[in-house]
Amino acid sequence: MSDAETKAEGGRKIRIVVAKPGLDGHDRGAKIIARALRDAGMEVIYTGLHQTAEQIAATVIQEDADAVGLSILSGAHMTLVPRVVELLRAEGVEDVVLTVGGTIPADDAPELKRLGVAEVFTPGASTDEIVSFVRTAVDERRTLAAQTS
């Protein structure tokens, strides 16, 4: 991956927080994604396990992240995701690309998207698919931000 490709419109590398909210310890997926995103040239901040929504929102703000990927395999996504969204909104963060991955029943995806989740990835999603989604989505937001500013 060339540097030119990994830098979106704004010119800087994409910064993404990979986070594990809640209590489940299933970090295989989060670590694979973190590594794939890093190998694709992004700056990856992996929070580690058992993060509260408050901790995740604080990390996103502190790291000035372009995107955040939440990995949840505990079934608690309908509680944890809205909480993260709410906290980010309360801090005035509107332009971060939020994705969710894990054991998420298909029925829950529309509701998560309505809340502002850009995409939901379930078991079987390829790392390529996720990398290119994040890149495109961040590019679009940066373009939009450049046009409106």
Partner: protein, 552 residues
């Protein structure tokens, strides 16, 4: 094995002259763990192999062929489906459903707050109460969980680790409530804290005090619970975290040896506790590699227990294990295909000589299973047991050139890892340095790349896909559970004697700071209706807590 020179020449000649002329498919000829598989195995591969030394007879050292002489001709494996969700009452109902459908043992899944030592009304428990397992806060919950199930007549497995000693205390008191003494209780509590730091990641305390709690349980059970398995040394979660079969085998056994060393250091006689240690392995989709893994595991354990730890009772050398099919092999796409995967994995467990088996349900890549999916999973075991004929003879694959070679190779790979871990100063040190964690992360990333690049075919995921996957009826956690459980806990708190709680927790804290065994204190606190979260919090004041340095 004595090999005729003529035959060896013939095998070599066949490979170089006949096989070399054949065209091969474009495919990865290696196991799912990346272990190379050759086109043909012959007696040539077993040149160093001595059946008397390496194979033996079933029920005899080194137990490669199985831990009992008659294996499934004498008694089938225990069909033990892991279950738990909601409050104790809902799970009790599922337990009775499974027993009514021919299941022969119980296995309890606890929810995440229970695994992490948090009460259901803790802020961090929000959204997780009763979702991935049953919520247990106090003895009252444990009593309801087994209501109407005579605890002296079923065996129970409990998958809990960091707070295992506390949950065991609840169980002992729940049995007491039924009039059953600890001596009469049969079953298993996982208590395998090392693999938590390696893979499963549900912890409460730093490693050293957590190891002390493990030994407290082992010691107490050796005295009071002769039918109980105080630790289930588990490779399952290591494999689910993305390890290879070789890593699962090596790290699990090394964890086991570490517990043995610690109990010996406490002053226990190895033959007093080793017979009650049991194991828990994954059954992944690479059929022969899995079978070789189980056979190698038994052989390594027997040899090490005898030769390194001086065990002499045959029961101390016999590795008995539970198997669960690989959750990680299940796909969210075309989920009914998971029934096929699970059947093949379960068959590997049976041909590998497992003592008990859990088969996953086809919908588990999406949610907790529905009763219908659980029933099919149980039926899968019943078909293997009663229709396929594989139970008619002991170790049907014994002597197979391929399986025996793989078993040898698996054993060698484990010893290579043992040496690397010893160089780091043993398993506890290796974990602190992130060694097993990094090995697993590397293996799981390598595998994912093979799948993403299409080098490894996963049916329905990167080949043979459908535009639209079939819709399934899924289990939905009941949003009212959280409130219901909080009310249960509130009720218990209102009924109990707060002076007694204070006394029990004070005594527990004092004992934690000494080197006394904590089990009697957990039992006292449980009887007084102290909650799990309260006991863990008191211990954390003495022990501290744990934060991982993540590696990826």
């Amino acid at each position: 094995m004595a090999v005729e020179p003529g035959s060896r020449r013939r095998a070599h000649q066949w490979l170089t002259e006949v096989y070399a002329e054949q065209a091969e498919r474009e495919a990865l000829f290696e196991t799912i763990s990346g272990h190379e598989v050759r086109p043909l195995y012959t007696e040539d591969d077993l040149a160093e192999w001595e059946p008397e030394r390496d194979l033996g007879f079933p029920g005899e050292h080194p137990y490669t062929r199985g831990v009992y002489p008659s294996m499934y001709r004498g008694r089938l494996w225990t069909m033990r489906q892991f279950a738990g969700f909601g409050t104790a009452e809902e799970t009790n109902e599922r337990f009775r459903y499974l027993l009514d459908h021919g299941q022969t043992g119980l296995s309890t899944a606890f929810d995440m707050p229970t695994l992490m030592g948090l009460d259901s009304d803790h802020a961090r428990s929000l959204g997780e109460v009763g979702v991935e397992g049953v919520a247990i806060d106090t003895l009252d919950d444990m009593v309801d969980l087994f209501a109407g199930i005579p605890l002296d007549r079923v065996t129970t497995s409990m998958t809990i680790n960091a707070p295992a000693a506390i949950l065991l205390a609840f169980y002992v008191c729940a049995a007491e409530d039924q009039g059953v003494p600890p001596e009469a209780l049969g079953g298993t509590i996982q208590t395998d804290i090392l693999k938590e730091y390696i893979a499963q990641k549900e912890w409460c305390f730093p490693i050293e005090p957590a190891m002390r709690l493990v030994t407290d349980v082992v010691e107490w059970c050796a005295e009071r619970m002769p039918r109980w398995h105080p630790i289930s040394i588990s490779g399952y979660h290591i494999r689910e975290a993305g390890s290879t079969a070789q890593q699962e085998l090596a790290f699990t056994l090394k964890d086991g040896f570490t517990y043995v060393e610690q109990a010996i250091a406490r002053g226990l006689d190895v033959d007093d506790f080793a017979p009650r240690l049991s194991f828990f392995f994954n059954a992944h989709i690479d059929f022969f590699e899995e079978i070789a893994k189980y056979r190698a595991a038994r052989r390594i354990w027997a040899r090490q227990m005898r030769d390194t730890y001086g065990a002499s009772r045959p029961e101390s050398l016999r590795m008995r294990f539970h198997t669960q099919t690989a959750g990680v092999s299940l796909t969210a796409q075309q989920p009914l295909v998971n029934i096929v995967r699970t059947a093949i994995e379960a068959l590997a467990g049976v041909l590998g000589g497992t003592q008990s088996l859990h088969t996953n349900s086809y919908d588990e890549a999406l949610a907790l299973p529905t009763p219908e999916a659980v029933r099919i999973a149980l039926r899968t075991q019943q078909v293997i047991a009663h229709e396929t004929g594989v139970t008619n003879t002991v170790d049907p694959l014994g002597g197979s050139y391929f399986v025996e070679t793989l078993t040898d190779e698996m054993e060698r790979a484990a010893y290579e890892y043992f040496a690397r871990i010893d160089e780091l100063g043993g398993m506890v040190e290796a974990i602190k340095r992130g060694f097993p964690q990094r090995e697993i992360a590397d293996a799981s990333f390598r595998y994912q790349q093979e799948v993403d690049s299409g080098k490894r075919v996963v049916v329905g995921v990167n080949e043979y896909r459908l535009a639209d996957d079939e819709e399934l009826e899924l289990h939905r956690p009941d949003p009212a559970i959280e409130r219901k459980q909080a009310q249960r806990l509130e009720g218990t708190r209102a009924r109990r004697d707060s002076a007694a709680i204070e006394r029990a927790l004070g005594a527990l804290k004092e004992a934690a700071a000494s080197d006394r065994n904590l089990m009697p204190h957990f039992i006292d606190a449980a009887r007084a209706r102290a909650s799990e979260g309260e006991m863990v919090a008191v211990l954390q004041e003495v022990f501290g807590s744990y934060t991982e340095q993540p590696v990826f």
